[in-house]
Symmetry: C2
Subunit: 348 residues, 2 copies
């Protein structure tokens, strides 16, 4: 029974109070459940609320209680499977705390810093993913509002959650060496993101602590799919090229693999290829792509949870929280064809 049509004044706490024959304070108390109220009055108020389809204005409440019940999530882009799952985890945790999430994608913004400041004024705290804001800006923000860093180098005064990178890179590299590979190259630009930087670090560490080969410079390309052709061309041009490629992510690994295969290179016989993220395609291509699975949903959830705690008054955690990752061995590294555990097309 909405009495509010176009032109009618919107229903406020005053309309409800009037209809229920009580004061606005009483309405507020009934709705908040704060303060004692007689069952009689409560019923009247709730009835009026229902009749008018009353929903309190968020902005008025925020102004009064100095709280938004909302968290901000700032990411650079949303492409790839990476973010949808992260976002799911984030949103689901935030929902449990009764928090809304406002999302800002800085990638295409003309003025990211302004966007984030603006965001900060409508939330109780924010999560900053990598490649969104420079560290000093982040730190400044962290002084005024709770901030959690996501998959990015720790900043003093801010919490930090991320997935483990260097260790898995080391394992992956050692695994390739165990397969007899000796000329390993890293593909992707370590400057591009802290994640990749860590992966590159793990890669070089594993390499230099073995007698496999000298550590060559990384093949610096953009992380996106279109770089594959470029990498393949570069690799096939070598006289004594690599026999293994550690790629910064799966998109890069997959497109490189395809381009090499089209060029007549055999994977993994001639060149082994591995990546990061375990995207859906990784288990559909042939050979299956060996990669590293990140707990993305969990990462999102953790970020939301930590931010919520901070908003509730918890102190900044002294240590960054780092989630373990998991090697997924398929056959692009030289392992025998997968036995199909955990692939969805097999009934178990």
């Amino acid at each position: 029974m909405a009495t509010s049509g176009p032109g009618t004044r919107p229903t406020t706490i005053y309309s409800v109070a009037q209809l229920a024959g009580v004061s606005i304070a009483t309405v507020s108390r009934v709705l908040q459940g704060t303060g004692a109220t007689s069952p009689q009055i409560r019923a009247q108020v709730l009835q009026a609320v229902e009749d008018l389809e009353y929903v309190p204005r968020r902005s008025a409440r925020s102004l009064a209680v100095q709280r938004h019940d909302a968290q901000g999530l700032v990411v650079h882009d949303l492409t790839g499977p990476y973010y949808s799952e992260l976002l799911m985890g984030y949103e689901s945790a935030a929902a449990k705390f009764g928090q809304s999430v406002i999302i800002v994608v800085t990638g295409q913004r003309e003025d990211p810093e302004w966007a984030v400041r603006e965001l900060a004024s409508r939330v109780d705290g924010l999560v900053l993913a990598n490649s969104t804001l420079p560290d000093d800006e982040a730190r400044a923000l962290g002084r005024r509002t709770p901030v959690v860093m996501l998959a990015r180098t720790a900043v003093p005064g801010c919490d930090s959650v991320s997935a483990e990178n260097a260790q898995s890179a080391r394992e992956l590299t050692e695994h390739l060496i165990a397969h007899g590979r000796r000329r390993l190259f890293f593909v992707g630009d370590p400057e591009g993101s802290p994640d990749v930087q860590e992966r590159y670090r793990g890669f070089t560490e594993a390499l230099s602590s073995s007698d496999a080969s000298e550590v060559g410079p990384a093949i610096r390309v953009d992380f996106r799919e279109h770089s594959g052709a470029e990498v393949a061309a570069q690799v096939m041009g070598h006289v004594n090229g690599p026999d293994a490629l550690v790629c910064a992510n799966d998109e890069l690994a997959l497109s490189t693999m395809k381009a090499l295969q089209r060029g007549g290179v055999k994977v993994p016989d001639d060149i082994a290829i591995v990546g990061w993220d375990d995207v859906m395609t990784a288990r559909y291509v042939s050979p299956g792509l060996t990669t590293v699975r990140q707990p993305l949903f969990e990462l999102g959830r953790l970020a939301a949870t930590r931010l919520h705690e901070r908003i509730a008054g918890a102190p900044v955690a002294p240590e960054p929280r780092i989630l373990p990752t998991e090697l997924v061995l398929r056959s692009s590294c030289g392992c025998p064809e997968t036995d199909d555990r955990d692939v969805p097309w097999v009934t178990s």
Copy 2:
């Protein structure tokens, strides 16, 4: 030079006014650019704003101007590549209008309707994707605030944007018939979403206007990857099984294809398979998956734009806005191996 530390009172328009030696009205006018201000005063104010790192409280402004400069986006889940791109398009358009976007994922909510009502109280309008709220609830919402329906059957009083489905389904089906296929089955549950319902309609229309075969019932399974094995088992059980499968989306098509291949069925020789969405995997598998590409980014952008117009006062569009889709022919339908236009691993 943030003078605000923990414990200090937060900076408000009053602090700025005081520091600049003017009234709060003047500060507001300078910041809004409304009303004439002398260059002298303006400079003082801006200086103070900078010194204090002042950002106006959003809630106070919203309360005063009765506007949030925010849009709500309600989706059922975020899995798959579908939503990340849609979201990118949405966010980028909204950003251009100076709008924030607050996102609610109803999938795991205990009370979606409450969540959406709550959302409605902190935004100027909302976009409702399919499978989020029942129609009557949506319509009720549409009476009180601008609402745009996304990829969902039109609701009177609400705008509606979606991608074309029936037509492409018809084309896809006719294409398979032209390949000589005669026993075509649809895979996926038409009840599951309006999109799929439309696709099924196109499928049956094409079939009944040809002399290919009778229209069999759809193989009703969940849209997710794990259904592939089930479909394959069902299909291989037939004595005179299908020679073509039109799957409701790519995930289903891909997992079914894999499962069939593992069962010794040749694609496309024994059975042709097609899907919808053109996910990344579709161009990496062998044979390449014939599918339908939807303009997701554009769809997101359109939804944001339409909502913005509605918020600005435009009337509800009488007709739903339907974006065209595009057939992507690869070889799972029986076409010869793709010539690799538009695949990223080929330098052009």
